[in-house]
């Protein structure tokens, strides 16, 4: 698996070109949409009440679009100007902030009913300079403490991210706990290499009994997740096994061939008739 967060910091990696590519890729769109829906499910907001959400690392607004559709009012922050540019072009409803989440938020306490973040946290795990304030623990700490205060009590924050090791999960959860959050990790499809998704589900307030960590989805992922062209291969394989290969030189093939010869100007090509390509009668 390629890890863009190891290539360059987000605001540089998602430059103009990469931002466009990322947004137009239909596979990306699909994955983002699925994860947003799943995050909303984990967020477990009371139905009927339109909530005010924070989209952390909103990027080009792929997830924000779904929040719009679902009737939520939202505000997004992201560190990559090019991504936000694309979001503006796409005219999403939410307000957009150019902000480094590692430096914390400037929202008044209790502003949001919930927060979601799709595929973002892993970007916080690399130090860009050796200065102490750019170390991952320091940035995570700032991020979680300010986020904790910006959320309403009780509420939830759901982060989907791609940890590269268990140590990273450990680091993130311990810092989140220090910042006052409860909650933990939810893993969907833990046995699948491809469909596995890690969600960090954090609670603000509410005590232990009221809020429970939702269960991760288990079992086999749907067949849909397979590669698109595989069916053709299946069909071919099925044919080879069944032994019926279909006659190679059937009537269609002969007609095509004769047509070709005529076009090339070959002489003495027999006429097409009802006898063309017909089987001879068994003589004996």
């Amino acid at each position: 698996m390629s890890r863009p967060e190891l290539v360059a910091p987000p605001e540089i990696y998602y430059g103009d070109i990469e931002a466009k590519k990322y947004t137009q890729n239909t596979r990306n769109q699909q994955i983002q949409a699925d994860m947003t829906y799943r995050a909303l499910e984990i967020l477990n907001l009371p139905p009927e009440e339109p909530a005010f959400l924070l989209d952390i690392g909103c990027g080009s607004g792929l997830s924000g679009e779904i929040l719009d559709e679902e009737g939520y009012i939202w505000t997004g922050v992201d560190v990559a100007p090019s991504m936000l540019e694309v979001a503006l072009e796409r005219e999403v409803e939410g307000d957009l902030f150019l902000q480094d989440i590692g430096q914390g938020f400037g929202f008044r306490p209790g502003s949001f009913d919930g927060a979601i973040s799709i595929s973002v946290l892993q970007w916080l795990l690399n130090a860009e300079t050796s200065h102490p304030t750019s170390s991952p623990p320091h940035r995570l700490n700032r991020f979680f403490t300010t986020l904790h205060s910006a959320l309403r009590n009780p509420s939830r924050a759901v982060f989907q991210f791609y940890p590269s090791s268990d140590d990273q999960i450990q680091l993130i959860t311990s810092i989140a706990q220090k910042a006052g959050f409860g909650g933990g990790i939810v893993v969907d499809y833990p046995n699948s290499k491809k469909a596995k998704k890690v969600f960090l589900c954090l609670f603000v307030g509410g005590g232990g009994s009221q809020q429970q960590i939702p269960k991760g989805l288990e079992g086999e992922e749907e067949e849909d997740n397979r590669v698109r062209f595989e069916r053709r291969r299946d069909r071919e394989r099925g044919k080879a096994k069944s032994g019926k290969r279909g006659s190679l030189k059937d009537r269609d093939w002969i007609l095509k061939k004769k047509e070709l010869y005529r076009k090339r100007g070959k002489e003495d090509v027999p006429r097409d008739s009802k006898y063309t390509g017909r089987k001879r009668k068994a003589v004996f």
Binding site: E48, P50, F107
Partner: protein, 93 residues
């Protein structure tokens, strides 16, 4: 580009900046109106979170005087419509 609803939630978070950090002042702004869907339930749920004085001041600065100075007890339709307009349809650019 920020709607007034978000402006009402923003405070300065620079370290040591603890007094006089809210609301943020407008500077070099243009106003843009953009329609949004009217949603009374959301507004009712959001009322307790609003810092009323700051919102009214901000709206007046932008030349919108449809909101009363005091936060009203009764929420009638017209008031909600005005609130909706101010909160969600006025944007500073």
């Amino acid at each position: 580009m920020v709607r007034l609803i978000t402006h009402n939630l923003l405070a300065c978070h620079v370290k040591g900046c603890n007094t006089n950090n809210f609301p943020l002042q407008f500077r070099d702004i243009q106003i843009e109106l953009r329609e949004a869907e009217f949603n009374p339930d959301f507004l009712k749920g959001f009322m307790p979170k609003i810092e009323w004085k700051a919102l009214v001041d901000a709206a007046r600065q932008l030349g919108d005087t449809s909101l009363p100075l005091e936060q009203p007890e009764m929420l009638d339709d017209e008031f909600l419509k005005n609130l909706h307009h101010v909160l969600l349809e006025v944007k500073e650019v």
